[in-house]
């Protein structure tokens, strides 16, 4: 046990009155007073399970996962800071708390594979290899942003890195991802597509229409439902009749799995199984990844729909602290190495911030470019 993790000391085996693991507890039932000891015990159990998953991963890979999660965390913390300072406009949906999902899942695919995400996609973009600079500049609405300042927080894209976007209509990316997978099947080109969405998107028709076609036509698409338990401010319990989302795969005879989204290695392993199914059998998979967002839905979230205690309960299972504890205990890294990583990431984020700040705004002429790939007398589309 390291002081690096903020978790309180654990006493394994004590006070076993609860059989409900924290990740299974419906949000509505969150206790007002958290039993810290119970939480610590559960955390340690998860950590032990996580350490069992180290097999097959070398040191660089493990540190790489940690590094990516920490980069997302620090990037998002910085985004919040500059958002409040007025440097970022519009909406800003932060990914803090959910880092293990994007990092674990995307670590299971290749560069050529496709990733689609929702509007909470800064983390997925970073995990797919996009630079902190390009993403921060996009948040700043600068010409150097990954979408040239035309997309913003909710519309990050990088064609070369196979990041096919943040999409801002809940569930809208699900048919799109299905289409990219269709193209892989059509061309027999071998890519798999990861499609990330929140649990609220599951209630949209687009989800069901897409899963039906994907299974029907055997499309290599992996649907990753990041169940952070709130659709904006509405808890899962208030919005979904059948809350076991993994079970919904049955409706389409699709393979599905429930995954602990606070364990980066669990997410990675589940995704690897799904990737194998996609590549070998050209079949889709539905993963329900239980996670939690520590911040509000967006920067303007009043947070009045959940208790502080509930948030603390999940913070006890912070995926980054959990993983760093595992790494230290397995002696993959020492404190000093972790400090060094933190320092590097701090510098990377600061650099991105400077880059975004100093980059020029898009040229006014950009207003009318890229409306059409084959423009037909563009003057007709301009102000008359």
């Amino acid at each position: 046990m390291s002081k690096q993790t903020a978790a309180p000391p654990s006493r394994a085996g004590a006070e076993e009155q609860s059989s409900t693991s924290v990740i299974d507890a419906p949000a509505q039932d969150a206790p007002a007073d958290v039993d810290k000891k119970q939480l610590a015990r559960e955390r340690d159990e998860v950590k032990e399970r996580q350490k069992d998953r180290f097999t097959g991963l070398n040191k660089e890979q493990l540190i790489g996962l940690y590094r990516q999660m920490l980069l997302i965390r620090r990037f998002e913390e910085k985004s919040a800071e500059v958002y409040v300072a007025g440097k970022i406009g519009g909406f800003c949906h932060l990914y803090i708390g959910q880092e293990a999902v994007a990092v674990g899942a995307i670590s299971a695919i290749n560069k050529e594979d496709f990733v689609f995400a929702s509007y909470r996609e800064h983390g997925h973009a970073l995990a797919k290899g996009m630079s902190a600079r390009a993403i921060m500049a996009e948040l700043f609405g600068k010409a150097t942003g990954c979408s040239k300042g035309k997309g913003g927080s909710m519309h990050m894209f990088d064609k070369d890195l196979g990041f096919l976007g943040g999409h801002a209509i809940v569930g809208g990316q699900i048919p799109l991802a299905t289409g990219a997978a269709f193209a892989s099947m059509y061309r027999n080109s071998g890519e798999v597509t990861l499609c990330f969405f929140g649990e609220a998107a599951v209630n949209q028709g687009a989800f069901h229409e897409s899963l039906n076609m994907a299974q029907l036509w055997k499309l290599p698409c992996i649907y990753i439902c990041e169940n952070n338990q709130y659709g904006m401010g509405t808890s899962l319990a208030r919005a979904m009749s059948l809350r076991d989302i993994a079970q919904k795969g049955c409706a389409y005879e699709m393979a599905s799995e429930f995954v602990d989204g606070m364990d980066v290695l669990a997410v990675r392993e589940a995704t690897m199984r799904a990737v194998q199914r996609a590549r070998k059998e050209s079949l889709p998979t539905l993963l329900e990844v239980r996670t939690y967002r520590f911040m509000g839905h967006s920067m303007s979230d009043p947070g009045n729909y959940r208790t502080r205690a509930e948030i603390e309960k999940y913070q006890e299972r912070d995926p980054i602290k959990l993983f760093s504890a595992s790494l230290l205990e397995e002696k993959i890294v020492d404190e000093k190495a972790l400090e060094e990583i933190d320092k590097q990431i701090h510098e990377e984020v600061e650099d991105a911030l400077r880059f975004a700040d100093e980059s020029p705004l898009p040229d006014a002429a950009e207003l009318y470019t890229e409306v059409y790939a084959n423009p037909i007398d563009p003057s007709r589309n301009r102000d008359r």
Binding site: F114, K148, D158, P175, A183, Y186, G205, Y372
Partner: protein, 327 residues
């Protein structure tokens, strides 16, 4: 040149383009085994097999979005809506994904896709199956909207639409599938998008008509010729982008214009054309721009009421006479 129907012309265009480009395929409800609800895709499954000619479940939002996603990574889907009435279910993917993807990705993801199918008034199928949708789609930058009125235009424009790198809404007219005309056989025959066609030249009044209203306007022009009024009939063919220059040039010549459409008048395409004429040719107008539109009601079922709801030759003749100050 052989004389064929619009249905056959569309079929030729799709067949030629699927044969020409490996990345082109067609999907939609009943396009394959059933040979197409309106037989536009007749014989294609036999010729190209189920990989290129794909029957979908009845799931418009889903397969429209799937098409857009496939286009993002380089395929060139032709998505058939059995009728454009059902495209309403797919508008999120057409508008929020297809139309905007190129722009909001900073130019990275073009969407070469065609959404096609019959639209406009049908025969006695009442309100939900008989309506004109073009003004919806023409509203959105990023989309192109095409409405052919002859077999040659249908073929040439559809081939251009399939080869175009932008999402194209291609609205055929259900009542016109059997209309015949000469169509070139050359597999390289195309008609560029965004270019209006002067279907008949005249000097006194310009009639702008699209889709079903083109043959109606031409008949009206014949009658008016007998009455001493020479009408110029312009078919924009592409609603977005609109070839307003051709229309304005004609109005500058005739000084009077009637805009015919079967769609509802409010916020319709002709409202836009009218505004642009006013903006660009105000000093050339000798009479107010006159619209002849479909009735501002849901489409009725009864034959007599349906006839009243769709503009006919008499309505166009009356409008022309009005702007020519003849009545």
């Amino acid at each position: 040149m052989p004389t064929i129907t619009i249905r056959e012309a569309l079929n030729q265009a799709i067949r030629e383009e699927i044969a020409r480009d490996e990345s082109v395929f067609i999907m939609g409800e009943e396009v394959a085994a059933y040979d197409g609800a309106y037989k536009v895709t007749k014989g294609l499954l036999n010729e190209f097999g189920p990989k290129r000619v794909i029957d979908t479940p009845i799931t418009e939002l889903g397969f429209a979005g799937l098409g857009v996603g496939a286009a993002m990574v380089g395929l060139r889907p032709i998505v058939e809506f059995m009728t454009f009435n059902f495209s309403i279910l797919a508008t999120d993917q057409i508008i929020n994904s297809a139309a905007k993807m190129l722009y909001m990705s900073g130019g990275q993801f073009k969407i070469p896709i065609v959404f096609r199918g019959p639209g406009g008034s049908a025969f006695q199928v009442s309100s939900q199956h008989s309506q004109a949708m073009e003004s919806w789609y023409a509203y959105f930058p990023g989309l192109k909207v095409v409405m052919p009125s002859t077999p040659a235009d249908a073929k040439g424009l559809l081939k251009s639409a399939i080869r175009d790198d932008d999402p194209v809404i291609f609205i055929e007219q259900e009542r016109m599938y059997g209309n015949k005309g000469e169509v070139p056989e050359d597999p390289d025959f195309t008609i560029p998008l965004g270019v209006a066609d002067i279907k008949r030249e005249g000097t006194d009044v310009t009639i702008v008509a699209r889709s079903l209203m083109v043959p109606v306007a031409l008949k009206a022009a014949e009658q008016l010729e007998q009455q001493g009024v020479s009408c110029e009939v312009i078919d924009p063919r592409t609603i977005r982008p609109l070839d307003i220059d051709t229309i304005v040039e004609s109005v500058k010549k005739t000084n009077r214009v009637v805009l015919a459409e079967e769609s509802h008048p409010i916020c319709g395409v002709n409202a836009e054309i009218s505004t642009q004429i006013m903006e660009r040719a105000f000093d050339y107008l000798d009479a107010p721009v006159k619209r002849v539109s479909g009735a501002d009601v849901p489409m009725p079922y009864a034959k007599n009421l349906e006839n009243l709801a769709v503009p006919d030759v008499e309505k166009i003749v009356a409008a022309v006479r009005e702007v020519a100050y003849l009545d």
